[in-house]
């Protein structure tokens, strides 16, 4: 179970899309539980995600139903990735429930990815990564740019199971618009 947290426009959804792309491009299947109905199929397809290999479950704001949906999917062997996008108002996940979810995913061989504005599964996550926007690039002459060129996201590991705290691992990803 991996947790990916960060503020708006920090690049966390782009990282999720990158994961979906990696999974579907190698022929496996992914499931996305989308609490806020925010997933954009158009930009995902443009990023190379094979949408026919993605099961999209829309929570329509019902956060506890979304957690139940993730629990069901985590117990279904065969999905390479089950992602939960909790959006900007993450639900409270009891620690025992988070650990049960982790155990279910481990038994099924499913990779769980939780993305949101803040951490919700706490110590149950084997890896917690914070996204921060480092740089924003526009192109065009003078003070009036013509278009958004790209964005750089810094990925900072805030918790890694088995590693001493604080963990000082950082990586940067560059996204194009």
């Amino acid at each position: 179970m991996t947790e990916l947290v960060g503020p708006l426009s920090s690049g966390r959804t782009s990282v999720l899309t990158l994961c979906l792309r990696a999974v579907t491009r190698r022929g496996a299947f992914a499931a996305l539980v989308d609490v806020d109905h925010a997933f954009d199929p158009g930009s995902a397809a443009a990023a190379g995600v094979e949408l026919s290999r993605v099961l999209w479950v829309r929570g329509e704001g019902r956060r506890h139903d979304a957690l139940k949906a993730v629990d069901l999917l985590a117990r279904c062997p065969g999905f390479a990735l089950v992602a939960l996008d909790v959006g900007e108002s993450p639900p409270r996940v009891p620690l025992d429930a988070a650990f049960r979810l982790r155990q279910a995913a481990r038994r099924s061989g499913v990779a769980l990815l939780v993305i949101g504005a803040r951490r919700v599964v706490g110590g149950a996550a084997a890896l917690s990564v914070q996204t921060r926007r480092d740089r924003l690039a526009w192109v065009g002459p003078g003070p009036m740019p013509r278009r958004l060129a790209g964005m750089r996201t810094g990925l900072h590991v805030v918790r890694k199971q088995g590693a001493p705290w604080p963990v000082a691992e950082t990586e940067c990803l560059w996204w194009t618009a």
Binding site: G27, F29, G42, G48, W56, C76, M151
Partner: protein, 509 residues
Amino acid sequence: MVDRVSRLACVRVEAFVAAALERCEPGLREHPLAVVTGAPPATRVVEANTRARAEGVRAGLTDAEAVVRCPTLVRRPASAEAEAAARHALLEACLSVSPRIEDAGPGLVHVDLDGLGQLFRDDAEIGRRLRRQAKAVGLEARVGIAGSRAAAGVAARVGPPVHTLAPGTEGAALAAVPLATLEWPAALPATFVRWGLATLGDLAALPRHGVGARLGRAGLVAHDLATGVDRTPFRTWTPPPFWEEAQGLDWEILTVPALVPVLERVLGRLCTRLVAAHLLIDVLQVRLALVSGGHHARSVALAAPLGEAAPIVALLALEIEAHPPPAAVTGVALSARVIPRRAAPGGLWHPPVPAPRDLATVLTRLTLLVGSANVGTPVVVDSHRPDDYTLGPFDGADLVPDAAAGADGDSAGERAARGSAGPIALRRLRPPRPVEVETRDGRPTRVRDTSGLDVVVETCAGPWRLSGHWWDTHAWAHDEWDVALSDHTIWRLSHDRLTDTWFLTALYD
């Protein structure tokens, strides 16, 4: 005369009306069975199975006469639904052997064997295969194989269960068949006796036009049968687009738990047929005949196509529990919309995929949890309109790892070489959030809304002008801007030029 095919088989099920009922209730095969019609005291036997015929029960007897001849006789009312279902099942069974078959009537199918010699060793093997396929759908059939449909039909009525007439020997074989062993229209047997005819050979020796002049059309048909000549074209049967199975009940069912075993039997038969045809159920419609004379119909769209009866019965029971019939049930009819079954994944190096049964269960539970409209596969619509997509079914039949997976032209390595991990993803706001926008020289400078958002636009790029459907009433026209706001967020801002309103439509994230 049409004689385009070289070898033909006739698949025949004796006492088909009774066989159709036995197919619905296999236990009836162990008992003498009579199919009856009409209300007492005018109830008459329509047909009897082999055991009942051995006891002297014949079509046309009254119910009382039949019971006197066979005290252990089991009587069942004729069921048109069961007969139609059995007829289709027999046709589909034959279709699994040859692509060219003809529906010659209830319990009678002609099969064109042309070209099957490359798949089967000889005609007898084809005949055995046809019998096995018919038995798989619950029907005991006899098979005759000859050079014409007429000769094959006679061969299917006499001799062993798989009766093959070698090419060139049909005439001699038919000539020896007694007329009394075949079924004729009512007036013909007496005429044959009066004329002193005992075998088909005797009838074939008569001039055809003379028989036709004296006996009319029935005589001509009888003469063609005796000579083994086909004079009608082979009318190829194609399977109907809907797969149906039905069962009439001679008792009333009031509760769903009591209805489940009936649904299991009917659906089991339907699934057996679909498995033989390599098909899966996508949508299932159930039509319950009610004691009041009406019908109660429900439709179940499966989240994943299935070919197994057990999980579908559970779904049907849930659907009927949620929408119970208004009166007692006296008949069940199921109709399935089907899709082809795809090859199963089997590559050693392919990533694992969910098992169809597990996936169907999970999809069903997800559907119950969040609604069928919120579970599926995103499909981007080929349109210029932003955020135009639909949600298609997550097709379990597509669960085959792509052999070309990883053969991505724009690979991660190439992206890395360019220094980019990919395009920035968007998070959509559905519905778009209306905002008030201050502009200067046509460019947005400040964004605010009623929920307290009030931010300065630090940088913006645009506009990108989009429009569509200007030719009808759904016309739309947007100007889109990419804006970086002072709260460190980057949005896609849209100006509806038709209504002069602004919306935040998506967030770059």
